[in-house]
């Protein structure tokens, strides 16, 4: 081997990267003293800086899930329709007709706070790559966003930037963004959440995996060139924010949706041949995690010559090349002899294609730069010896049950309804949605709140008598419930997602989850993690909707203040004939029926409700309890009624309770309704807490349906022992009447509803 002094002459920084590390270097990279000691022991030497950088990325929370792994293992992940559960780039489920749905949700929280446009754009780009890496063409994008309080000036800037970033990537690459949720709470003032979900479609027998095969096979780098952007992004995303976080801007990656589009088309074109043996996208921790994961999953090794990696800048070091998070790059193992054919496809799309090394059977990752060995590490410690912590936890749950009479108010029902629709958490997000291209690809059936779940037609399943199959998608979480009771909150997120899928007419199938929490070193935060995973597990098992992929984002804290616990559930369901899907809007002369609510239902659950926040200016009661049996019953019955084509619309009762849900069903056609009240409420006045709790309580397992076939529906409901309450028949008056107690103008309420977000964003021309 050449003397190191020669390297010093060629590239001084590379020389430095190959020098032995010290404990201080490890601490600076986010590793602990114990972890550094463990690394030195396991590799039987003191790592150089490049080797240490590789360890720090692989041991980061983002890559190793060291705080949550113990609990993630308890999630239900199996079912007969699951083709691939967690552990690959995305989850895969069987949807019939030799087709598979491939999907995953991922967070880009920290980068989006530092640089909202690029942070959210690369979040979308990254999740799309996770899906097409598996051989699937992405067909829909969803998101779950959480921002700080609406009256904080920074919120407007962040909303504007994040929405532009999500649209900027999705619109340009040409995948429709079909929906999602956007909420506001002061706990996110310093830590917004940007969770992006992508769903793709593949042939069941043409799924691509990441495990490397065959020693001697070529390792190919394709896509964009490697730059100095995003170095140590995974480590940044695994630390708490402090006042100086905006100084971390250089670690935010920059997205290029145009190159993303070229990479998507080139990869799918290549996957149509038999050249690709395995493939992995370069996401968090870039070339490090892709090479380490591919080699270790195949129980093999890898030799890479880093001089062959296409770079944007001169004299990049091995450390920089391995830890760069430049976007739009992939690593592939090709069948020997197919390199020429593969290269011609990437040439056509004007993308880099470089043969940078080979698969070995040494079980080691060996990297060379300028002819010097920059890294020589055993793979096993990088993956299998990553720490798994059993952090102490305490699950705190509020048990105090609030009664309607605990909430005294001088507000009328109309006053409350107005406050609800002035709340950006409830009001329509049309202002945001219109900035997303929701109709490109021509297969969107329902987007952006037209239905409880967004629905896309599956291209190519059209039949003579039908438009074909569809996929329903939703993202859900009610963080205030999780905060009050992590187990119930976790269950509720799953149940609401399943109810939303069923309310669109589709059968709930599987989940991808995005667990967003604060600092896991705090007992109560760890308790929120453990509790909500327990709740999610219980509900997902009961509803046969296994978790097939997911992501964990911890350390969402600023100056010691944690976000509300936000375990987002992304759920996918399927429907055989999309023309049989359900919207939320009732039509004239429909009868509205509340399913899951009996005639004897006299008082609503007020604890932890939007209603309670309006009256008490806080949430302090136990959240509404979850009865899984009732949840399953209401889901099964709505699917049964819909199969018989008896329904016009459906909308699940969630935030804001029954009356809010009814209003949302009447808005589109500006309809009226005379609501029947249960006998005990007929003589109440508009201030009565019991009546108000009936209107705004947030009891779960309820869906309102709209039907033109009341007799048939009633018969089926009775036969199946389903609790229900007939609310009344829609009319063209645009007035919502509660007996003689009050008359609500649907037009007035909808005007408020439509103005809320535009006026929050300073856009006065809307409407």
């Amino acid at each position: 081997m050449k003397p190191q002094s020669e390297l010093l002459k060629i590239n001084k920084n590379e020389y430095l990267a190959q020098q032995k590390s010290k404990l201080e270097d490890a601490l600076e990279m986010g590793l602990t003293k114990d972890e550094y000691k463990l690394i030195c022991e396991k590799i039987d030497k003191i790592p150089n800086l490049t080797e240490l950088g590789i360890f720090s990325a692989m041991f980061s929370e983002h890559c190793s899930y060291k705080s949550s792994k113990k609990w993630l293992k308890t999630l239900p992940t199996e079912a007969s329709h699951v083709i691939q559960g967690p552990g690959e780039n995305a989850g895969v489920i069987d949807i019939g007709e030799n087709l598979a749905a491939v999907f995953k949700i991922e967070s880009h929280n920290h980068p989006s706070f530092i640089e909202p446009f690029q942070g959210s754009a690369t979040g979308v780009g990254g999740i799309l790559r996770d899906v097409f890496t598996m051989g699937a063409r992405p067909i829909a994008l969803m998101n779950a966003l959480r921002f700080g309080s609406p009256d904080q000036p920074l919120t407007q800037h962040l909303v504007s930037g994040v929405v532009k970033g999500i649209g900027g990537y999705g619109n340009c690459i040409g995948i429709p963004t079909v929906g999602g949720e956007t909420n506001f709470d002061k706990s996110y003032d310093g830590n917004i959440l940007v969770n992006a979900m992508a769903v793709g479609l593949a042939k069941k027998d043409r799924i691509f995996y990441s495990a490397a095969t065959g020693a001697g096979n070529p390792v190919i780098y394709v896509g964009a060139k490697t730059g100095r952007d995003g170095i140590h992004g995974a480590t940044m995303a695994s630390a708490e924010f402090t006042k100086n976080s905006t100084e971390k801007r250089p670690t935010v990656q920059v997205g290029d949706p145009f190159t993303g589009k070229l990479l998507l088309e080139a990869c799918l074109e290549l996957m149509n041949t038999d050249a690709v043996l395995s493939i992995q996208d370069m996401g968090a921790a870039g070339l490090t995690s892709s090479s380490v994961e591919m080699a270790s999953k195949g129980s093999l090794g890898m030799n890479l010559n880093l001089d062959l990696v296409p770079t944007r800048e001169d004299k990049m070091t091995s450390y920089e090349i391995m830890l760069s998070e430049s976007q739009e790059r992939m690593l592939m193992i090709l069948k020997p002899g197919s390199e020429e054919k593969a290269k011609s496809i990437f040439d056509k799309w004007d993308l880099d294609f470089a043969n940078i090394g080979e698969v070995t059977n040494t079980g080691r990752l060996i990297l060379t730069k300028h002819g010097f060995e920059a890294c020589n590490l055993p793979l096993e410690p990088l993956v299998k010896d990553a720490p798994e912590y059993n952090k102490p936890f305490e699950i705190k749950a509020i048990k105090k049950v609030l009664k309607p009479s605990d909430l005294k108010t001088n507000l009328t029902i109309i006053d409350i309804l107005k406050i609800i629709f002035k709340n950006p958490n409830i009001a329509t997000k049309k202002w945001i949605w219109e900035q997303y291209d929701s109709s490109v690809m021509g297969d969107t059936i329902f987007a952006n709140g037209d239905s409880d779940a967004s629905l896309v037609k599956i291209h190519g399943t059209e039949k003579k008598e039908s438009f074909g199959k569809g996929l329903a998608i939703t993202t859900d979480c009610t963080p205030r419930y999780v905060k009050s009771d992590p187990i119930i909150g976790g269950m509720q997120a799953v149940c609401e997602a399943a109810r939303n899928i069923a309310s669109s007419g589709a059968k709930p199938l599987a989940i991808t989850n995005n667990l967003n929490f604060g600092n896991p070193d705090k007992k109560n935060v760890m308790g929120e993690i453990v509790g909500s995973i327990k709740g999610i597990s219980e509900a997902a098992s009961y509803l046969s909707t296994p978790i097939v992929s997911g992501n964990v984002s911890l350390y969402n804290e600023t100056n010691g203040k944690s976000i509300l616990p936000t375990p987002v559930i992304g759920m996918v369901g399927a429907i055989d004939e999309v023309e049989n899907s359900l919207k939320i809007s009732a039509e004239p002369d429909n009868v509205l029926i509340a399913l899951g609510q009996s005639e004897n239902f006299k008082a609503g659950w007020v604890g932890c409700s939007i209603y309670q926040e309006i009256i008490n200016k806080k949430y302090d009661g136990a959240p509404p309890p979850i009865n899984l049996e009732n949840e399953k019953k209401v889901i099964e019955i709505i699917l049964k009624l819909n199969e018989q084509k008896l329904l016009t619309a459906a909308h699940d009762i969630s935030d804001g309770g029954l009356l809010t849900t009814v209003c949302e069903m009447l808005f589109k056609y500006n309809l009226g309704l005379d609501i029947n009240l249960p006998s005990n409420l007929i003589n109440c006045d508009s201030y009565d807490p019991l009546l108000q709790s009936w209107c705004f309580g947030e009891d779960q397992a309820r869906i309102i349906i709209a039907t033109k076939h009341i007799k048939k529906v009633q018969l089926i409901l009775k036969e199946n022992n389903i609790d229900f309450f007939v609310l009344g028949e829609t009319n063209s008056s645009s007035n919502l009447n509660l007996n003689d107690i009050t008359t609500i103008s649907i037009q007035d309420i909808n005007n408020l509803n439509e103005k809320t977000i535009p006026s929050m964003m300073g856009d006065q021309q809307q409407g």
Binding site: C172, F258, K261, Q435, Y436, S439, V440
Partner: protein, 230 residues
């Protein structure tokens, strides 16, 4: 009918347009790669929507310099028919096949929503002859730079030559945002001098299914195809 859909790097509505044309004509349009100089004789060439070359320069500016544009110009000079939708319209303008410019939407935001278009009284054109003057069509838009701008003299010329084909129109008297991008005189689409080239911002290929977006786009494209076949 023999038709072709041009594909540039970054085109993303090519598949949608191919699906729509196949549905109407029963024949699959050919795909024309942007590097092609020689294209066969076609009854209709469509430049679909997308973000060609990322639209990192002015929208459509790079695509307008691709080899295929020469072939399209030859096709036009032979009296051929061309439809440019959204980014396709932007490319036709950058290639100076159609006049004027498409600038950022008035609110500086991308906008994706349904619009109502009114067929204008204009010169003989295969794109509009099958429709009635004043007829309304509900067709969605999805763009960031669809604000058609023409200086006074050009506008006057376009009017005199009967080249304003489609305008955004109010549904209700008090409707404020019927024009999605602030375009001059609510212009949504314009024609070439001979009426054979149409550039329009709205996406007819996205309104071909009653389940989503309605079927006015299907009607529009069907009438075009009928006129072209003759």
């Amino acid at each position: 009918m023999r038709s072709g859909v041009v594909i540039f790097p970054g085109s993303n509505c090519d598949r949608d347009m191919i699906v729509a044309l196949r549905k109407i004509s029963g024949k699959t349009p050919i795909k024309i790669w942007h590097k092609e100089y020689d294209i066969p004789n076609l009854d209709l060439i469509v430049i679909p929507g997308g973000f060609t070359f990322g639209d990192y320069l002015r929208c459509g500016a790079l695509a307008a310099r691709s080899p295929v544009i020469t072939s399209i110009k030859n096709h036009i000079s032979r009296g051929g028919t061309v439809l440019g939708v959204c980014n396709g319209f932007q490319i036709l303008i950058e290639a100076e096949i159609l006049p004027g410019s498409l600038i950022r939407n008035k609110k500086l935001l991308f906008t994706c929503r349904e619009t109502t278009l009114e067929v204008q009284s204009c010169i003989e054109s295969p794109f509009l002859s099958g429709l009635k003057i004043g007829e309304c069509l509900k067709i969605p838009v999805a763009h960031n730079e669809g604000n058609y701008f023409a200086p006074e003299d050009l506008l006057k010329q376009l009017k005199e030559e009967g080249r304003i084909a489609l305008k955004y129109i109010k549904q209700k008297d008090n409707e404020k945002n019927y024009n999605p991008n602030g375009s001059t005189e609510d212009i949504a689409g314009i024609l070439s001098k001979n009426g054979k080239v149409l550039g329009m911002m709205p996406h007819p290929e996205r309104a071909i299914n009653y389940l989503h977006g309605g079927t006015d786009g299907l009607k529009f494209l069907t009438k075009c195809v009928e006129q072209i076949i003759g």
